[in-house]
Symmetry: C2
DNA sequence: AGTATTTTGCAACAAAGTTGCATTCTACAG
DNA sequence: CTGTAGAATGCAACTTTGTTGCAAAATACT
């Protein structure tokens, strides 16, 4: 495949534009989840509004997912392949926030355990976020 | 006990002021977690800045806790009694966000299950948030 | 009651997010 | 390969959210 970003856009039936490619490239080369501000800096040739709208589009198509954090900053990360291809989004891994370096990580190997809700409640989505010290900061 | 709000303030060694009492009363009579904006409306005789500072004070003392949400709005809720009295905060129950009515609830009876992190990661705090339809909306 | 200390309100500001609209770009038909 | 409809973008203006410094007011304590 010549261009990974383009192929993601194609399989989501999105038109291929330079800003979308750039923002996808930013995600593809990032090792962590990104805040809106991170993306603004890494794709600073594009307008802030365009980034807002592009992220929303990617969320709608299930290309990226959000990670809720305790400090009122949303982080965004690429969905894994099967997450994208399966039509609707189902993110079932735990997320980790390092209190020291501030990085947010998808722990793709750590599944969210099942829980039992009280009677009358139905679950659509579940998120598990762990704060602590990451591998790199620990070393 | 004459006044629950006052007694909470006293046991946290905070001076008793009318805004703190009012904001505590708002929490005490709320059945759900509250956004900052909710509190602004329910205690609208006080300045927005005072509410920011009061919530921060309550967080510092472990009187309230935050609930991270997927839509970038922090919700605040009273901590349970043992949560307050034990000195430092340890919130170990699941939170529920209703996609229909928008309410955020502490599921005090649903404990967060344990997970195993990859080698090198240490856990300080854990949050579990479930989205779905709540009991009241289901009925 | 008097006073040191804390808390509050206000103003000014900074940052984050939204909206309408004119311009530019993309996909696609012909 | 063009022409064009529709989509995406940039810009400006705006709203909302959160922060800071400081003077005035309130609280706790002597
Ligand atoms: Mn993830
Ligand atoms: Mn709670
Ligand atoms: Zn770290
Ligand atoms: Zn509901």
């Amino acid at each position: 495949m010549v261009n990974q970003a383009e192929s993601i856009l194609k399989s989501s039936a999105l038109s291929i534009t330079s800003s979308r490619k750039k923002i996808l490239d930013v995600f593809l080369s990032a090792s962590t989840a990104l805040a809106h501000q991170d993306i603004e800096k890494l794709a600073d040739q594009y307008d802030r509004v365009t980034i807002y709208r592009t992220l929303q589009t990617f969320l709608d198509r299930g290309i990226i997912h959000t990670i809720p954090t305790t400090d009122n900053t949303i982080k965004y990360a690429l969905c894994s392949d099967d997450c994208i291809s399966s039509g609707h989004h189902h993110d079932n891994h735990v997320h980790f926030l390092c209190d020291q370096c501030g990085r947010t990580l998808c722990l793709d190997d750590v599944m969210i355990p099942a829980i039992t809700l009280p009677n009358g409640y139905s679950m659509k989505e579940i998120n598990m976020v762990v704060n602590g010290i990451c591998k790199l900061c620990r070393a």
